[in-house]
């Protein structure tokens, strides 16, 4: 996971609430066994016109296809972003497309967790703050936003200055690009102790009958 701290970029506004992971990456791309190569499939059904058989054509009116938003590293959406399926492919697609941060009033639980594992900053701002940023990025695609993870702020050069909440440990992992299997294994003694006791307790055995 790549460390991240300060990100200055234009932003892509996607002003819809409840954007679910089926929209972020449709099911047909979940059959792949690789972890990479999902960026081209981000928002696939919204991004491409698929009405003509065997022909994939970018929809010119969809924001990701507008040349002025190319290269943007920040996505802005409305509440409950990432709801639905647990597919981490959604976080992979967002990341591999080139986004390093998503700003929204709220995020769904599993997506929130998946984003953290992939070095994506999720910055929750108020509805009003998100609305302001959406307006500015819509009016001016060149509008620059700076996210400072260390300071937990989102600012622009038109006086926008907002603070966002973040769990300190999540922040520490993002800042340092840490893989948390390694972090958990710092507690291996605790784990071994716990497991030796827990294994003898009947509630913990998935295969109680066969083990008996």
């Amino acid at each position: 996971m790549q460390p991240i701290n300060i990100l200055t970029s234009t932003a892509v506004p996607l002003p819809l609430p409840n954007i679910d992971t089926d929209q972020i990456i449709p099911k047909q791309f979940l059959k792949r066994i690789e972890r990479t190569g999902y960026g081209d499939f981000l928002f696939y059904d919204w991004r491409y016109n698929l009405d003509i058989p065997d022909h994939v054509e970018p929809r010119r009116d969809f924001v990701l296809n507008k040349p002025e938003y190319k290269g943007s590293e920040i996505l802005i959406a409305e509440r409950n972003f990432g709801c639905g399926s647990s597919r981490e492919h959604a976080a992979w697609a967002i990341n591999q497309y080139g986004f390093r941060a998503v700003i929204a009033p709220s995020f769904a639980d599993i997506f929130f967790s998946n984003a953290g594992k992939n070095g994506i900053i999720l910055a929750p701002l108020t509805d009003a703050e998100v609305e302001t940023l959406i307006q500015r990025s819509t009016a001016n695609p060149k509008h620059l936003i700076t996210i400072n993870l260390e300071a937990q702020t989102v600012i622009d050069d038109e006086g926008f200055n907002a603070h966002f909440d973040m769990d300190p440990f999540r922040k520490y992992c993002l800042l340092n690009g840490l893989d948390d299997i390694g972090l958990t294994l710092r507690h291996e003694d605790d784990l071994n102790n716990f497991e030796s006791k827990h294994d003898n307790e009947f509630w913990s055995k998935p295969k109680a009958n066969e083990a008996a």
Partner: protein
């Protein structure tokens, strides 16, 4: 053992007890490390996790705490189509799981195994899902297992790998939310209607950050199948998990199953399980009371599981939305669904009916649907299919003659899998097709690009297949009272 739970005098919720029983470490300033008793594995969200282990040179710590099966992208058309999967990418994914399970020593229920099925069906069927356990799976509908009083939640692939490597997960502690459903359910109202009503009330992010405990006399009166339907859709309200206290219904379901404890171990287990219920004076961060006697069969009209209305109602207008954001979603959903505000739900015609998914493909669901179907025929304008959730359900249904009821009525009778719930396999809607579905998500394109989904109960799906439009099951039952009541479904091995 269980006495450890009772030495603590502070009244606790069921969630609190299960959580505390699984705390491995509580490092300062970090999430709690929670032990995971069981991880369920399927073909879609596991290949990258197994690869991650290999790349890092890590072992699968506890193969005995993993169970795997194939469900998401296996064809349901025929045994032959499953044994040789035509879609090469799907075939490669299924093969990857086969190889990974062999390499890492995970028990695997392959495509024609008698225990194969949707991963959330087979855990309970095997008795691998038990009260008080922590259960995860790379699938959001893992919340299903909470019906047994387990703490069960869906995770992403990085977390799947984490559990494989450590049998733990770092977790921030969720808040608690009790939804109390009191009273007897009216005629024609099912577990599906309860949960659709709840999601409609609180919204698809209404329970984000919470574990829900469903309680009250209406919940206690439900079978395990009904309880699983409710817990299954907890994620559709944004909840981390849903739980229902274990009771005699739970124990009766589990007794004698393959991985259930036996003899003296069973008695001790039941004693422990009884101790898990929420203490009388325990408090929740949030509570909601629902009067079950006022519930009406419920259907989704839009593109989010929170966009529900009662079957006797009409399609809402964007003006009915509570906020500007909702107004925008309503407008977009109406356009996608090709519906006009004010249209009676019962006037909405369907092209397809899907009876299946981890929400509603258990034996009780098929029995309820078969009762409606018997003696009738699917409308000529409708393509209808039944996809049993597991081999066990399929076998049981065939023993009871339900397959014949469905087939003679013009339903397709399929092999088990996730099928048209998410359309990863060839079972998809065509653009513009409208489907009455017993599944859990009505997102844009969920059942096939351009497809339109109405979520409802198995009985109402069956009635829609016959009439060709969304149908109020209460009226249906009234109109067909004679043959409906006479139409007792055969007992196992019984005769007509």
């Amino acid at each position: 053992m269980s006495t450890a739970n009772t030495t603590n005098r502070q009244p606790r919720t069921m969630f609190e007890k299960v959580w505390q029983n699984h705390v491995v470490a509580e490092p300062a300033g970090e999430p709690t490390i929670i032990y995971i008793d069981l991880q369920l594995v399927h073909e879609v969200t596991s290949p990258q996790a197994f690869d991650g282990l290999r790349l890092a040179g890590r072992k699968l710590r506890r193969a005995d705490r993993h169970i795997a099966t194939v469900d998401h992208n296996v064809p349901t058309t025929s045994v032959q189509d499953r044994l040789v999967i035509a879609d090469q990418i799907s075939a490669a994914q299924v093969n990857a799981l086969r190889k990974n399970c062999a390499e890492f020593g995970v028990e695997f229920f392959d495509v024609q195994d008698a225990n194969q099925g949707i991963v959330h069906m087979i855990g309970p069927e095997l008795g691998a899902t038990k009260p008080g356990m922590t259960i995860v799976c790379g699938d959001s509908h893992t919340s299903t297992h909470g019906a047994f009083g387990a703490l069960a939640f869906g995770i992403g692939t990085s977390e799947v790998e984490h559990v494989m490597a450590t049998q733990t997960l770092p977790q921030s502690k969720p808040k608690t939310f009790r939804i109390n459903v009191e009273g007897a359910l009216p005629y024609g109202v099912t577990a599906k209607d309860i949960i659709l009503d709840i999601i409609g009330r609180i919204g698809t992010d209404g329970a984000t950050g919470y574990v829900i405990e469903y309680s009250g006399s209406a919940i206690r009166a439900l079978s395990m199948e009904g309880r699983m339907t409710i817990c299954n859709m907890s994620i559709e309200a944004g909840a981390r998990a849903g739980m229902i206290a274990p009771d005699e219904t739970t124990f009766a379901y589990l007794k004698g199953r393959r991985f259930a404890p036996k003899d003296e171990a069973w008695d001790r287990a039941v004693e422990h399980w009884r101790s898990l219920v929420t203490d009388r004076d325990a408090t929740f961060d949030r509570e909601l009371n629902i009067d079950a006697t006022k519930l009406v069969p419920t259907v989704t009209w839009g593109t989010s599981p929170g966009m529900v209305t009662t079957i006797d109602g009409t399609v809402p207008s964007p003006e009915d939305a509570k906020s500007d954001a909702d107004k925008k979603s309503f407008t977009r959903a109406l356009e996608y669904m090709d519906l006009k505000p004010g249209t009676k739900l019962e006037d909405i015609k369907v092209d397809a009916v899907f009876l299946g998914s981890c929400t509603n493909a258990r034996i009780e669901d098929l029995r309820a649907a078969a009762k409606v179907v018997r003696g009738h025929h699917v409308a000529t304008t409708v393509r209808a299919m039944v996809v049993p959730g597991s081999q066990k359900v399929k076998h049981q249904a065939e023993e009871e003659g339900l397959d014949l009821v469905f087939k003679s009525a013009g339903f397709e009778w399929r092999e088990p899998g996730c099928s048209m719930c998410l359309g990863m396999n060839p079972d998809i809607l065509q653009p513009g097709e409208r489907c009455a579905s017993t599944s859990n998500r009505n997102f844009e394109g969920r059942q096939g690009r351009g497809g339109r989904t109405h979520l409802l109960s198995p009985e109402m799906a069956a009635a829609a297949a016959i009439t060709g439009h969304l149908t109020d099951i209460r009226k249906w039952k009234h109109e067909h009272a004679e043959d409906f009541n006479a139409n007792q479904i055969l007992a196992p091995g019984g005769s007509r």
